[in-house]
């Protein structure tokens, strides 16, 4: 087990190193941020001056070396636009994204499991077929389009929900929260629903398939034959068993939600790190783009490691493979 973890950590470090080279080389090659910072009347000396201030006059490898050295210390440089450390900017925006992501994850569980279970129990009737069709839609519809349609229906046609921003926030433990105010809650419903569509479809399919597989097993028949109440069979015998595959994919799903937050945040102008990324790309704000990517890759590697560990705890067969 320990060998497995060490192996994975070494692998993760290789991935981070490779990503950093690819990103840095790519970012280095495109656009000159100096053109963006100064207006066209700036003299050549002023341009050279600002280049030297930002360290852009040094050769590629030296810039990369400085970048590597400082990024090990968690310093990804200052944002060209806001002139604050890029990492600080990202940590400022991170709570908004995490809040949205967690609400989406919760939504996909509390909507996905009941619907999937019912669709699994009545797998032959029309409700189940409709649910399956809707889950195909959830998988295949581009999420930005669904977001636009939500805005069109609920904000423009009915005028029930606001279409952009976080609304009123409340400060708790030093972090701003939207979910604890009514206005914030109104703002978060649509983006969270939009972001969770894929997750809902996924959980529905998993729990439906789980139910169909389990419901004809002997131990369920036996539980019924013993005269146990239906509710007890449902919650203790069936739900417990379908939860294993669902719990193991939650980590993967959380990763997907984080990645797609870029899309949802852009559609709903939600001030999280995804929107920050798109804005920074458009403004050629290199340090922010680089720190966003490094941060996301890092989060993903951690999520994947945790998922594998949980998997090996829940499923002894995986443990054997790992130990080999």
């Amino acid at each position: 087990m320990l060998v497995f973890i060490i192996n994975r950590i070494i692998q993760s470090m290789i991935v981070i190193f490779l990503t950093s080279i690819v990103i840095f080389a790519g970012i280095f090659a495109i656009g000159n941020p100096v053109d963006l910072l100064l207006d066209s009347r700036a003299t050549f000396e002023e341009m050279e001056q600002i280049k030297a201030n930002l360290g852009l006059d040094k050769p590629f490898w030296e810039q990369y070396y400085i970048f590597l050295k400082s990024s090990v210390n968690g310093d990804f440089g200052h944002s060209y636009i806001y002139n604050v450390p890029a990492m600080q900017l990202i940590f400022q925006r991170l709570p908004a994204t995490l809040e949205l992501a967690f609400i989406s994850l919760i939504l996909s569980i509390i909507i996905g499991i009941p619907v999937g279970v019912v669709a699994g129990i009545y797998s032959k009737n029309i409700f189940s077929k409709c649910v399956m069709f809707l889950s195909v839609l959830g998988f295949s519809l581009p999420s930005f389009w669904v977001g636009l349609m939500l805005i069109m229906v609920f904000s423009i046609s009915f005028g029930w929900l606001p279409s952009f921003g976080r609304g009123e926030t409340i400060s708790l433990f030093g972090i701003e929260w939207s979910i604890f105010t009514l206005d914030g809650l109104k703002h978060i419903i649509m983006p969270a629903l939009n972001l969770s569509l894929f997750g809902i479809a996924f959980v529905i399919r998993l729990s439906r398939a789980g139910i169909i597989e389990i419901i004809h097993q002997d131990y369920i028949k036996f539980a019924h034959a013993k005269g146990l109440k239906n509710s007890r069979v449902m919650f203790v015998y069936i739900l417990k068993n379908i939860m294993i595959p669902i719990v193991t994919v939650l980590g993967m799903e959380f990763g997907l939600i984080l990645a797609f937050a870029v899309v949802t945040e852009t559609v709903f102008a939600w001030p999280g790190i995804g929107k920050l990324l798109i804005d920074s790309i458009n403004l050629l704000d290199r340090p922010v783009v680089v720190s966003y990517i490094m941060m996301t890759v890092f989060i993903f590697l951690i999520i994947n490691l945790i998922v594998d560990l949980i998997y090996s705890v829940l499923d002894p067969r995986v443990r054997i493979i790992i130990n080999d």
């Binding site: 790519g26 195909v136 998988f139 295949s140 519809l141 930005f144 349609m149 990645a259 870029v262 852009t266």
Partner: protein, 292 residues
Amino acid sequence: MSSLNPYKKLWSEFYESKIAFLALCTLLVLIVLSLLSPIISPQDPYNLSDINIMEGRLPPGTHSERGYIYFLGTDDQGRDMLSAILYGLRISLAVGVASGIFAFIFGLSVGLFAAYNGGIFDKLIMRFVDMQLSFPAILIALILLTTLGRGTDKVIIALIASQWVYYARVARGTALTELNKEYIESARCLNLSKFRIIIIQLLPNCLPPLIVVMTIEIGHAIALEATLSFLGVGLPITKPSLGLLISNGYEYMLYGKYWISMFPGIALLILILTINVVGDQLRDILNPRLKQ
């Protein structure tokens, strides 16, 4: 039954699902429309002398000064939306199919060679594939495009890079089961060259599951391209795919001018949905485990 032509059999099984058949017909109509777009669209939306900026943002059904009707309205530049959608459909399809074909070829070659050679090459490649599969395709495409910049070729590269792993994995898995079969053994006994065994014996037998993967992945590629273009990191504005058209109309939608975003969105939706339904049906037919 066994003497029946396998393609005829495939077709008759495909036809069993009316929904899939309908989806296939719709998809074919869309492909034909996109191919014919320069001929059938009422206006060339990218010929500046053809569009009238004074007729911008007109609702659907308005008569233009030149005598035709804007069935789906016009955008902010005065382009006929119907024409723009037909042209956009063509671009979206072209990008999706091109990246699908290249990812197919690349993934197939890597997967087959990994399976046939085995050993350290196989291990390294599969380790890499597993690692990449743990990242969502959109994240990989996004990272690549932030570094490569905007452009049609770059979008296609990003799509290939984020999707080839799906082909490689399926190709390797199929090839490994095929390699255990007797015809490969007999080919080896005949001392045929490695290249010949892979191309002539192995490849054709690995194709069916890969065609399913390709159908579904082209659908994904089109959705991914639309998303990236919507975010402003995908295709350049000179190549307005359906995603870019939707993005252009986004701000007007907030003021009730729904048609600029809505109709390209519906076209995109139908395109992706029909591809997925066709792909699902193909998968059900070719996967004997699901048939029972």
